[in-house]
Subunit: 238 residues, 2 copies
DNA sequence: TATTGTACGGTTGTCTGATAACCTTATATG
DNA sequence: CATATAAGGTTATCAGACAACCGTACAATA
């Protein structure tokens, strides 16, 4: 029996495919920055799709900051310096060096966040922090739920800074890191040293509660360096 | 004659506005994660625009990872675990508090970057750094070109860490900040104290060149706090 | 009863064609 | 020469249609 997979594989979002194709033209420099793209009509003809699809593709590129469109003029390739959003492909973090780099970035942010949270947190913040801590210490020690509680703990610290951007960036970064860890199945390693981890979290919490930014920063630094060494990361430090 | 302002005002880029409006519904939790959005037809009716515009808006949200669409079923708000990107609406930074928050976030990143750059930079990095510095000190002191050189200087420091994420995040943040400053026309204030700023930059450069991370961090911290006070920001510090 | 097949309504995906808004360029006009 | 106007091209938006696909309800079958 012969199956025709080329027919079945026809799917996977037409505009996205065309967008990445045009995007590659730009990234590879075949369309120089500032240069005008072909008109929508021409692109539609070239790819053999309708103008709607081309428009959606271009809209996506514009959203990523790769092109700018001017009504009545055309679409132009921009250079990649001013894009409107940050994006991390999950695949990138499979690489150990890349993962380590992201962790290195997280370090100063978490430390600073701990310091700010120590100063800015409210009573409600502390309650939520304790709830997350509760879930970590509770019965089933390091299940999926425990990992989520760990995430929630750090997220709550970011929220306790009352700085929207710390929450936005740290939430994003921590999420990527935890996801990368999970897919790498390194969580197994963590099971054994869970007591240590919890103790470090408690130390952070206590420093926060006593509104001591210096101690909070130090506790967070200690925790992250511990976590890093457990993950076999070699972070620069001085 | 009655005008319906609840409908979208249509002076510029309709889909982007609708996207951010729907996006806010999701971010603020009025549409719960996993919940289904109204159909495109209904959304089109609600906003008083055509389905094409709604589709482009949803495409944008999907690109940002806030919604997922399934053909024949509908569009769903994703739980923010798989949000693939960070985005900052430029309008948000018009608010002084928000601008200050972003600057506060930038602080620890720049400082850490300075420390890492002091350790990791290569000879070429230093050359590029000096080129940026050259453009700042050159003839026309604080024109648009000078501002760009300032940006390039900080960008080069981020690059000198040889950590892709520092470059990605700091480049992004610094860009937003400089844009916000420019649109607020606060650049005029900077004109007078340009000598101070340049001196601070030189101090950073020298610390970097001598591969002294502690001094580099301190120089960067001093510079940013100086810049902050010039911008009338009140940053938390301890 | 339990499983499978099928028809149906609803939703997103794509196509087509038209009109509006806008920009650039060329031409006419004084 | 400078300015106004017309023309043509391009993107933005609109409207309506059909295709592809999904979930469900219900009938058919074993």
């Amino acid at each position: 029996m012969v199956m025709d997979f080329s027919q079945i594989r026809r799917n996977e979002h037409l505009p996205a495919r065309i967008a990445s194709q045009i995007g590659r033209e730009i990234s590879d420099g075949r369309i120089a920055p500032g240069e005008k793209l072909p008109t929508e009509h021409i692109l539609a003809k070239t790819f053999g799709v309708s103008r709607s699809v081309v428009r959606e593709a271009i809209a996506q590129l514009r959203n990523e900051g790769l092109v700018e469109t001017r009504q009545g003029v055309g679409a132009f390739a921009t250079d990649f310096e001013h894009r409107q959003s940050i994006r991390i492909e999950q695949g990138n973090l499979a690489d150990h060096a890349s993962f380590q780099s992201l962790f290195q970035l997280r370090l100063p942010l978490e430390i600073e966040a701990a310091g700010l949270a120590a100063v800015n947190h409210t009573a409600e913040d502390l309650v939520k922090l304790d709830e997350a801590l509760e879930q970590m210490t509770g019965g089933e020690k390091w299940t999926e739920k425990g990992v989520l509680a760990d995430l929630a703990f750090h997220r709550q610290i970011a929220a306790s800074t009352h700085n929207e951007y710390f929450l936005l960036f740290l939430g994003f970064i921590a999420e990527r890191i935890h996801l990368a860890i999970n897919t790498a199945r390194e969580a197994a390693v963590l099971t054994e040293i869970v007591e240590v981890t919890i103790a470090e979290h408690v130390a952070i919490r206590d420093a926060l509660a006593s509104r001591d930014p210096i101690r909070a920063r130090e506790a967070m630094r200690h925790h992250l360096h511990g976590a890093a060494s457990r993950l076999d990361l070699q972070l620069k430090v001085y």
